[in-house]
């Protein structure tokens, strides 16, 4: 008995949605702000979404496993380096609160899934791709070598999913990544809107809150090049604002975390 294909189809569609949202975030960030400050995360989400869709449904396979091995080895190394740098500032706290740690775990889990597939399943997939977890045309279901590693990843991913949800719904969420000060933005997401209020409030009271940039400070400080190429008075379209909101980023991480945990468990 295999996992019903419609469940795999739904999850594959969800992963394609994550990939599309990540691509949209890249485009929106570039169009609006000239560049995406952390394009690496959106690129990684894009790649993971495509890869996982291919793992779930054979017909969505895009690249051979070897290519994905290389890709996720690179993303793992990249986020490992980012975490290393972050650890220099935050110490061990980076394990729980680190900004890049979840992305390192996601990348490593992807790498593990591609590398640890058992040989019979690889043969069954014809070597071109994972062939889908539903097993395609009656092939044996794929399993992973070193299942304890899969179990550790499942625990880790589950922890990040619940932490993301807690942050998403917690009081600190108002200080989101993209926010707007001095303007109300019709159609913006609630998270963006609340962040706007927080920024305005900070500007009025003159109190600095971590993560909230007062208008003057935002305009004058930081990276002056960031705003280059954006016409004065330009505003992001509501669609872009939504895509760039922290809720979308967190939603992508949560969806990928749950799906990845699902895939690891059913391949144990």
């Amino acid at each position: 008995m295999m996992t019903p294909s419609w469940i795999l189809d739904i999850l594959a569609a969800l992963m394609l949605l994550v990939a599309a949202a990540s691509a949209g975030r890249l485009v929106a960030a570039r169009t609006w702000a000239g560049s995406s400050g952390e394009a690496d995360i959106d690129v990684a989400h894009l790649l993971m979404g495509i890869a996982m869709a291919g793992m779930l449904v054979a017909s969505l396979t895009t690249l051979p496993n070897d290519a994905w091995d290389v890709i996720f080895a690179l993303t793992t190394a990249w986020f490992g380096w980012r975490v290393y740098r972050e650890a220099g500032r935050q110490g061990s706290r980076v394990l729980a609160d680190g900004h890049h740690m979840p992305h390192l775990v996601h990348s490593a889990a992807m790498l593990y899934m591609f590398v640890a597939l058992s040989t019979p399943a690889m043969a069954g997939s014809g070597g071109g791709g994972m062939g889908g977890m539903g097993g395609g045309s009656g092939m044996a279901m794929q399993t992973l070598n070193a299942p304890v590693v899969a179990f550790i990843f499942v625990l880790w991913l589950s922890a990040y999913v619940v932490l993301d949800l807690d942050r998403l719904s917690g009081p600190g969420h108002a200080h989101g990544s993209y926010f707007f000060a001095g303007h109300s933005l019709a159609g913006a997401t609630a998270g963006v809107g609340s962040a706007s209020l927080a920024a305005v409030s900070a500007a009025r009271t003159g109190t600095g809150t971590s993560g909230v940039t007062a208008p003057d400070e935002a305009t004058d400080g930081g990276h002056p090049a960031a705003g280059d190429g954006v016409a004065a008075g330009s505003r992001p379209a509501p669609g872009s604002a939504f895509l760039l909101s922290p809720k979308v980023a967190a939603g992508c991480r949560i969806a990928m975390g749950v799906t990845m945990a699902f895939m690891l468990v059913i391949m144990i």
Binding site: M1, A33, E38, L155, F179, T213, A218, P224, V265
Partner: protein, 339 residues
């Protein structure tokens, strides 16, 4: 993502806002951390429910296997439910798994934590009966080593103890007391661990080869290293069933009364509870047989560890004795600061 602000029609970006958001994220207090751990375990449980085996008739047959030994009034509904699941395995198991994932997400998402915890209690009680045969507590097969009184009832217990209530963290001796009060929480602990004492001394568990057979039986299908651990532990306990049961019962009894002891001793007993739960989880339950495939949950060991963490004595126990010190503390102090 970058930190972008539009000010006066201009756009600027400053560093990594996500990192700033992390900085501004308020660290959850101890109870919230425990709630998140519970949510993570529910998520693991839900994901496990999506395994291929659960969509087969075998799942229904597994449920039916919990009926024998139970009184007729308990067994009959289990048998009926198992038959239903057997005939509609795909549909029903999809619903079961999705409910469990939603419970996890609901507990982790602050606005829905109460609804999700309440739903988890109802769900856990239903599963305890229809899925676990009341954890086999009414049968001679119940043993603390193989998961009695049932993992899922501990989910419900945790949901009750971690219910978000208004009791000040600074006035309770341990996080689990915030919802139900110290007396009720201690009584629940005593009943749970006391029941494990009783199960450890059941005739079936005192037999010379009882523990040996139970632990050796867990090795099947496990990875080599875990199977070797189980086999080694089983060999140590061969023909030592009576002695092992008595030692286990004494240790469990100490844990059961531990929450009534002064704070240093209570801490030692909570540590002992965590160690015993970990030993049970690794050797007796083989991590819930998750690595062998086909497990429906991580079994009781992991949940007992989480439960013990909820009883970790805080400084509040001391401040309760010294009211003057309590008054000197800032009002509404974070529990995390006192833990």
């Amino acid at each position: 993502m970058s930190d972008i602000a539009i000010a006066g029609g201009r756009v600027a970006r400053r560093g990594s806002a996500s990192a700033d958001a992390v900085d501004s994220w308020q660290r959850p207090d101890t109870r919230r951390v425990l709630q998140l751990c519970l949510a993570a375990i529910w998520l693991l449980d839900g994901v496990l429910q999506y395994q291929s085996f659960m969509f087969s008739k075998g799942f229904g047959q597994m449920l039916a296997g919990t009926a024998p030994g139970n009184p007729g009034a308990i067994a009959s509904p289990i048998t009926w439910d198992a038959r239903l699941v057997e005939h509609h395995a795909v549909l029903l198991n999809s619903i079961f798994a999705t409910i469990q994932v939603l419970l996890a997400l609901g507990i982790a998402f602050r606005p829905t934590v109460r609804v999700a915890l309440a739903a988890s209690i109802a769900w856990a009680l239903g599963v305890w009966w229809f899925g676990e045969g009341l954890g086999e507590v009414l049968t001679p097969a119940a043993s603390p080593v193989n998961g009695a009184p049932g993992a899922v009832i501990i989910y419900a217990l945790l949901a009750v103890l971690l219910w978000p209530s208004d009791r000040d963290a600074a006035t309770v001796p341990f996080p689990a007391a915030r919802a139900a009060g110290a007396q009720v929480a201690r009584a629940l602990w005593l009943v749970l661990w006391g029941s494990l004492v009783y199960f450890a001394l059941l005739p079936g568990n005192r037999a010379p080869q009882a523990l040996n057979g139970m632990i050796a039986g867990m090795a099947s299908g496990e990875p080599g290293w875990l199977a070797a651990l189980d086999n080694h532990a089983a060999a140590v306990l061969a023909h030592q069933g009576l002695a092992a049961s008595i030692v286990l019962a004494v240790v469990l009894a100490l844990i059961a009364v531990g929450v009534y002891l002064p704070r240093p001793a209570a801490r030692a007993m909570v540590v002992l509870a965590i160690v015993v739960a970990a030993v049970i989880w690794v050797f007796g339950e083989a991590f819930g047989a998750i690595l062998a495939g086909g497990a429906t949950d991580p079994n009781s060991g992991l949940l007992l560890i989480l439960l013990a963490a909820a009883y970790w004595p805080t400084r509040a126990a001391v401040t309760a004795v010294a009211p003057a010190q309590t008054a000197a503390q800032p009002a509404g102090g974070a529990e995390g600061a006192t833990a």
